[in-house]
C-alpha cells in the first residue's frame, strides 16, 4: 500500500523529468547493451569451437609422442619416433574404456589423377577411423582389416579432393589416383564435413591403410599418433588416465620420469581453445562493464542533483508526515526504476546489436540467458548502490531545514 504510493511518487518524478531521465538512462543502456553483445560474441565463438570439436568426435582421444611441455620448446611431432605399433597393440588390448582405436600416420603430398593434381594430406589408419571420427561414407566402402594386413593400395578421399581431381563429375569410386606417385585405387568417398573453426578444411583428406602409408609413402616403422574413442564422453578423462598408465608401463618410465607422450581428450582440447576465447570475452566484458559503471555514476550524479533540487519538496513531504524511510525509499525506487528501465532498454539494444553482428558481420553469436540475468542484477544493484547515498542524504534532512533550503 505504502510502497505502491512511493512507486507512484517516483514514477511521477521520472515522468516530470523525461529528457533528463532518458539521458541518465543512456549510460546504463549503452553499458548493458555492450555487456550483452560482448558476452554474445564470446559465447558464440566458444560454442562454435565446441560444435566443431564435437563434430570431430566428442569422445575422441589423441595420443601423440613427446612430452607435454606446454609453452616450452617442442620437437616436431613427426620427428619423434617414440610411439610404436607395439604401443598401439598394448593400448588396444588393455584399455577397457576405449571402444575403437586406430594408429595414425600422416604425410603431405600431391594427389594426381589424369591431368589434375592437388596438394593434400594422406592419413594412414585402420577401419576404426570412421567410428572414431564419426564420419560416414558418401559412396563406396571402407577398406578391410585384410587390406590393412596386406598393405593394399586402396584409398578413400574427401570432398575437396573429389572436387579438385574429378572435375568432370565422374564417380571417383573405382578410379585410380596417385599420391606422391604411388597409385591408389579409390574405394570410397567421405561425406563432407566442411571447415572447422580453425579454418581447417576437413574434407581435404586422403585415407588409406596405415600399413600402406607407412611402407610406401613415409617409409617408417613408428606411428605418428594413436586415435581412439572413449566408451562415452564422460569416460574420456578416465580413459586418458588409463591410456597414460599403459603407456608408462610400456615405455618403462620410472616414477620420477616425465611422460614421453601426450594423451589428450577432446574435452581438454575444447577447454584449451575455450580458455583463449574466455580471456578475450573477459577483456571485452571488462571494457563493457566500465561503461556500465559510468552509467551508474551518471545515475548517482542525477540523483544527487535531484535531491538538491527537490530539497524543499523533501521538506514538505516530511512536514505532512513523510518519514525518513519514505523519502529514502522514494529516491531509491526512483534510482532503481531508472536503472531497471535502462537495463530493459539496454537488453533490447544488446539483442538488436547481436542480431546485427550475426547477420551483417557473420560472427557467431549466442545470447546466454545468464548474461541477461547478470546485466539485470547489475542494473538493480547499480540503482541501489548509486541511489543509496543521495537518497540517504535526502532522508536525513530536517523538515524545516529542508523547507527553508534555497
Amino acid at each position: 500500500m505504502r510502497l505502491l504510493n512511493l512507486f507512484k511518487i517516483a514514477t511521477k518524478a521520472i515522468v516530470l523529468n523525461k529528457t533528463r531521465t532518458l539521458l541518465t538512462m543512456l549510460g546504463i543502456i549503452i553499458g548493458v547493451a555492450s555487456v550483452i553483445a560482448m558476452l554474445a560474441i564470446g559465447e558464440g565463438s566458444k560454442e562454435s569451437i565446441r560444435t566443431t570439436i564435437s563434430s570431430m568426435g566428442a569422445n575422441m582421444i589423441t595420443i601423440r609422442p613427446g612430452a607435454d611441455t606446454r609453452g616450452g620448446v617442442r620437437q616436431e611431432r613427426s620427428a619423434m619416433e617414440s610411439l610404436t605399433l607395439q604401443d598401439f597393440e598394448a593400448i588396444k588390448e588393455q584399455a577397457s574404456l576405449l571402444t575403437s582405436i586406430s594408429p595414425l600416420v600422416d604425410g603431405k603430398g600431391q594427389v594426381i589423377s589424369g591431368s589434375n593434381n592437388w596438394p593434400s594430406t594422406i592419413y594412414g589408419v585402420n577401419p576404426d577411423y570412421l567410428a572414431i571420427k564419426v564420419t560416414d561414407l558418401q559412396s563406396g566402402s571402407m577398406f578391410t582389416d585384410a587390406e590393412v594386413q596386406s598393405a593394399s593400395k586402396v584409398a578413400l578421399i574427401g570432398q575437396t579432393v573429389v572436387e579438385n581431381i574429378f572435375t568432370n563429375g565422374e564417380d571417383p569410386v573405382g578410379q585410380m589416383i596417385r599420391f606422391n606417385n604411388i597409385p591408389f585405387k579409390v574405394i570410397g568417398v567421405l561425406e563432407g564435413k566442411g571447415e572447422n573453426t580453425f579454418g581447417q578444411d576437413q574434407d581435404d583428406v586422403v585415407i588409406a591403410p596405415y600399413t600402406t602409408v607407412q611402407k610406401r609413402i613415409l617409409a617408417i616403422d613408428h606411428i605418428n599418433q594413436v586415435i581412439a574413442s572413449a566408451v562415452s564422453e564422460d569416460d574420456a578423462p578416465d580413459a586418458v588416465i588409463q591410456v597414460s598408465e599403459i603407456l608408462r608401463t610400456q615405455h618403462k618410465l620410472t616414477a620420477n620420469e616425465d611422460d614421453d607422450f601426450h594423451v589428450q581428450s577432446m574435452e581438454e582440447l575444447i577447454s584449451t581453445f575455450s580458455s583463449t576465447t574466455e580471456m578475450l570475452t573477459i577483456l571485452l566484458v571488462a571494457v563493457a562493464s566500465i561503461s556500465l559503471l559510468i552509467g551508474g555514476i551518471g545515475i548517482m550524479n542525477i540523483m544527487y542533483v535531484s535531491v538538491k533540487e527537490r530539497t524543499r519538496e523533501i521538506g514538505l513531504r516530511m512536514a505532512v508526515g513523510g518519514k525518513g524511510s519514505d523519502i529514502l525509499m522514494q529516491f531509491l525506487i526512483e534510482a532503481i526504476m531508472i536503472s531497471i528501465t535502462g537495463g530493459v532498454l539496454g537488453v533490447l539494444l544488446g539483442l538488436a546489436a547481436t542480431v546485427f553482428i550475426e547477420n551483417l558481420l557473420h560472427w557467431p553469436t549466442s545470447v546466454a540467458l545468464y548474461s541477461i540475468i547478470i546485466s539485470f542484477a547489475v542494473c538493480a544493484v547499480t540503482g541501489i548502490f548509486f541511489g543509496w547515498y543521495p537518497a540517504r542524504k535526502a532522508s536525513s534532512l530536517d523538515p524545516i531545514t529542508a523547507l527553508r533550503y534555497e
Partner: protein, 247 residues
C-alpha cells in the same frame, strides 16, 4: 473538562549564525486547551513562525519543554513526530509550499499518501471535499503556476484539512486573500473550530484576530500579551454584512 493539547514551558529557540546568535524565542510559556481558537500576533521578526514551526513538530526548541496531546516531544523519535504531523496536525505555511507541476488535487492528497490507513479512492474523495470546502472545486487539475496567489493559499489550506487533523496551525493563512475570501476562510475555520478542532492562527491583521477567542502577542521572542477575547465575532455574519460583490 477540556484537556491541554499544547503545553510549552520556557521555550527557547536560538539560531547560531557564525559568531552571532539570534534569539528568536526567549523562553515563553503557555498552554492551549482542546477546542480553542488562538491567534498569535506580533510584528515581523517577532518569532511567530518560529513558534508555530515548533508547535507543528517541524522544528525542535533549543531548550524548554513542549508537550503535545500529553506526550513530550523530547521522548519522540523522528518517525513518531512524522506520524503526529501526518495524523494530528494540519499545517498551513506562510509560503504555501505546494509541489510544483503537480495538480491541486494531488497536492491536497499528499498527506494521505503517507497514511497507510487511507486507500486511493477515499484519498481522492477527501481531497476533493477539502478543495470544495475552500471553494476550489472547479480548479482541481490546475497546477500551482496556473493558480493565483490566493488560490494557491487555498490549496494549501485544503491540504491542511484533508487529514482531519485535531489541530490546525496556520501561518498567515489569509495573508494573500481579499477581505471576502479571507472572511470565507475564517468562517470555515470557525465551523471547524465548533466541531472541536483546535486552531492556532498567526496573523498580522487585528480584524482577523476578532474571530478567535484568544490572542497572544509576541515581541522580540517574548509574550507581551495573552488575552481572552470576550466578544468573538462571527465571520459568517461579517461576510453577510460585506457589500455585495459585482461580477
Amino acid at each position: 473538562m477540556t484537556k491541554e493539547i499544547i503545553k510549552i514551558e520556557n521555550l527557547k529557540r536560538e539560531f547560531v549564525m557564525g559568531t552571532e546568535t539570534v534569539h528568536a524565542l526567549r523562553g515563553i510559556s503557555f498552554s492551549i486547551q482542546e477546542g480553542e481558537f488562538v491567534t498569535i500576533m506580533g510584528s515581523s521578526g517577532s518569532g511567530k513562525s518560529t513558534l508555530l514551526n515548533i508547535l507543528g513538530c517541524l522544528d525542535l526548541p533549543t531548550s524548554g519543554a513542549y508537550e503535545i496531546d500529553g506526550s513530550s516531544i523530547k521522548d519522540l523519535n523522528r518517525n513518531q513526530l512524522a506520524t503526529i504531523r501526518n495524523e494530528k496536525i494540519g499545517f498551513i505555511f506562510q509560503s504555501y509550499n505546494l509541489l510544483a507541476r503537480t495538480s491541486a488535487i494531488e497536492n491536497v492528497e499528499l498527506p494521505l499518501l503517507y497514511n497507510s490507513k487511507v486507500g486511493s479512492v477515499e484519498r481522492r474523495e477527501r481531497a476533493l471535499k477539502a478543495l470544495e470546502m475552500v471553494g476550489l472545486g472547479d480548479r482541481i487539475h490546475h497546477t500551482p503556476s496556473q493558480l493565483s496567489g490566493g488560490q494557491q493559499q487555498r490549496v494549501a489550506i485544503a491540504r491542511s484539512l484533508v487529514n482531519n487533523p485535531v489541530m490546525i496551525l496556520a501561518d498567515e493563512a489569509t495573508g494573500n486573500l481579499d477581505t471576502r475570501t479571507s472572511y470565507e476562510i475564517m468562517s470555515l475555520f470557525q465551523d471547524l473550530n465548533k466541531q472541536g478542532i483546535t486552531i492556532t492562527f498567526v496573523t498580522h491583521e487585528p480584524d482577523i484576530a476578532t474571530f478567535s477567542n484568544r490572542t497572544i502577542v509576541l515581541k522580540d521572542g517574548n509574550i507581551i500579551q495573552d488575552n481572552v477575547n470576550t466578544k468573538v465575532n462571527s465571520a459568517a455574519d461579517q461576510l453577510a454584512q460585506l457589500p455585495k460583490q459585482e461580477d
